[in-house]
């Protein structure tokens, strides 16, 4: 338990450092903040006044602490492009992204683990070869291109699914599949190799000698041992999913955190970029923390 506490404290410190890094990266940028908001005809005085209103003329450390203070009191600032409150924006975008990310994560493990198990049970059969090739191929397909192919087939040609936007369940299918594809491929591969490794262990022979049914050995004992690395992968997958959500949300026009962030960068809307980047770092750091705590709790050998 002491190790868990230490990891938690360390994580909080890392989050604080991350918040400063994100802040500094954006404040030290060469871009002109005023360009996002003021018309091209604005005078130098107008621009200086605007910077002063935003507090951009003060030292960066002071700005950082002001920003942190505002964060804790719930004041997230406003977008530079349309003056919308970032707090309101955040609620909606986070909800959308959480739906997309959650469904993808479900697909990753819901499809990846069973396929990997089947492949490990029928090792070296045509089924195994098929599943393994699918997983090697799946890791090589760039997800943005997969998105275009699926849109072309299912939206443009067949007309079964909408190509972009947000509405009912139908709108969720394509983006979730694209976001999950690489994860499914990786999970299949991990599950397969982890299961095979455990099937060759001595304890399996002992259980067989004790007369346990193959099914019981497989599902109860081998699977349980094999799930450990997959659990730790779950937390680490969040980082990947968060990263690629930026691309996938942009393609499908899914109004989530990723899309807001990419648009923010392209339009130089710094308060927006700052808040949503921090949010993503927070999610990923928490994912890593959950992975390491989960791994410790799931493995009695690591508990002290």
């Amino acid at each position: 338990m002491k190790a868990v506490l230490k990891t938690t404290v360390l994580t909080l410190l890392l989050l604080l450092a991350s918040s400063f890094a994100v802040f500094a990266a954006i404040r030290l940028s060469g871009g002109d903040v005023t360009a996002a908001r003021l018309p091209a005809s604005a005078t130098t005085e107008d621009r200086d006044l605007f910077r002063h209103q935003l507090g951009l003329d003060r030292p960066i450390i002071e700005q950082y602490f002001t920003y942190l203070g505002n964060l804790f009191t719930g004041d997230l600032g406003n977008s530079l492009t349309n003056n919308a409150s970032i707090g309101d924006l955040a609620v909606e975008k986070i909800r959308n992204s959480a739906i997309l990310g959650g469904v993808s994560l479900l697909l990753v493990f819901g499809i990846g683990i069973p396929l990997g198990m089947v492949a490990s049970l029928r090792r070296n059969s045509w089924l195994d070869t098929g599943i393994t090739s699918f997983s090697v191929g799946g890791m090589a397909v760039p997800n943005f291109w997969l998105a275009l192919i699926l849109i072309h087939i299912f939206a443009t040609s067949l007309g079964w699914l909408p190509s972009a936007g947000q509405g009912g369940f139908k709108y969720l299918i394509l983006p979730a599949v694209v976001l999950a594809a690489e994860g499914i491929a990786l999970t299949v591969r991990m599950t397969r190799s982890s299961m095979i490794e455990n099937l060759n262990q001595d304890f399996v022979r002992t259980l067989r000698a004790a007369g346990l049914s193959e099914r019981r050995i497989y599902f109860k004992h081998v699977l349980r041992n094999s799930l450990l690395p997959i659990i730790s992968l779950a937390g680490l997958r969040i980082g990947q999913i968060v990263g690629y959500a930026l691309v996938v949300e942009t393609i499908f026009g899914w109004p989530g955190v990723g899309q807001v962030l990419v648009n923010g960068v392209l339009r130089r809307d710094y308060p927006v970029v700052q808040f949503f980047s921090l949010l993503l770092v927070f999610v990923v750091t928490m994912g890593n923390l959950a992975a390491s705590v989960g791994y410790t709790l799931a493995n009695p050998r690591l508990r002290k």
Binding site: L10, L14, L15, A17, S18, A21, V22, A25, I26, L28, S29, G30, G31, V136, G137, M139, A140, V141, P142, N143, F144, W145, L148, I149, I151, H152, T156, L186, R189, M190, S193, S194, E197, P229, S232, L233, G239, Q240, V242, G243, Y244, L246, V247, T250, L261, V262, G264, V265, L266, R268, Y270, V273, S277, L280, V281, V284, T285, N288
Partner: protein, 281 residues
């Protein structure tokens, strides 16, 4: 079995190497064969694949797709290989030092590693693009940073395990210098792992560069990055899907080739690495 026969018997390695060789040859000689990638001819817009004078057809601006795609391969390979070479060398060094020296040095390195680890690669690149402007430079910096840290993490873990082994204790008792123990006894045990990891991180670099160029934060026009070509072609999927299909297929085979080589190398160098590496990738 001789090394060569072992190589030949390893089907993944052979297949990956052949695909890789074809792509490298296309990248090296393609731009010389197919002419200037930026040459526009608006009257020639959207010629399909197999048009005379334009092997793969042309894009909306009448630019030769073969010339653009092969130049795109060059960009992709240059970014991926240079970045990965740097990340492998630096990451291995950092991991070796942190894992062997331990103590405060290790704590500081591990803290920095954990810090960077909290940032997804794509987000680091987006932040870099926000702070120094879009282009290939932020992409290169971001991939280099994240991959160096990723490799250092794995190498450190391996070194921690190896330095507990008897042969290390024996070398220490024999009075060898830290430098000698690190270079002669520990490094040879982790370098195979770093090599196998490098093929995986070449794949990561290729995909990251393509994805960032796709959303407009990577290579800037008129430079023809493969990801950017896929993006330009997406508006004309019905008219002429080859404009995004060709670069897409090329990216697929590039990544497939390095993954196959990576898997093959892993089996060739040390079959026992199989599961250990699956966990890290």
């Amino acid at each position: 079995m001789s090394r060569f026969r072992r190589f030949r018997k390893n089907r993944q390695l052979v297949a990956g190497s052949i695909i890789g060789l074809v792509i490298v040859l296309l990248g090296v000689f393609g731009p010389m064969l197919f002419g200037d990638y930026a040459d526009q001819d608006l009257l020639l817009g959207h010629k399909p694949i197999g048009t005379e004078g334009a092997f793969f057809g042309t894009d909306a601006l009448g630019r030769d797709l073969a010339a653009r795609a092969t130049f795109g391969i060059r960009i992709s390979l240059m970014v991926a290989i240079s970045v990965t070479a740097m990340a492998v060398v630096l990451g291995t060094l950092i991991g070796l030092i942190a894992g062997y020296v331990k103590g405060p040095v290790d704590s500081v390195i591990s803290l920095i590693v954990d810090f960077v680890w909290g940032f997804p690669l794509i987000l680091v690149a987006v932040l870099m693009a926000a702070s120094i402007g879009s282009g290939l430079v932020p992409v290169i910096l971001a991939v280099a940073l994240v991959n160096t840290v990723a490799i250092a993490r794995v190498v450190r873990g391996e070194v921690l395990g190896i330095s507990e082994r008897e042969f290390v204790a024996a070398s220490k008792a024999g009075g060898y210098s830290t430098f000698r123990i690190l270079t002669r006894h520990i490094a040879p045990n982790v370098i195979p792992i770093a090599l196998v990891l490098s093929s995986y991180y070449i794949a990561v670099a290729i995909i990251a560069e393509a994805a960032l160029s796709f959303v407009g934060m990577g290579a800037q026009p008129p430079l023809p990055s493969l990801g950017q070509m896929v993006s330009e072609g997406r508006n004309y999927m019905r008219l002429n899907h080859w404009e995004s299909t060709i670069p897409g297929v090329i990216i697929f085979f590039m990544v497939l080739s390095v993954s196959l080589v990576g898997d093959g190398l892993r089996d060739l160098l040390d079959p026992r690495l199989r599961t250990a590496l699956d966990r890290t990738s």
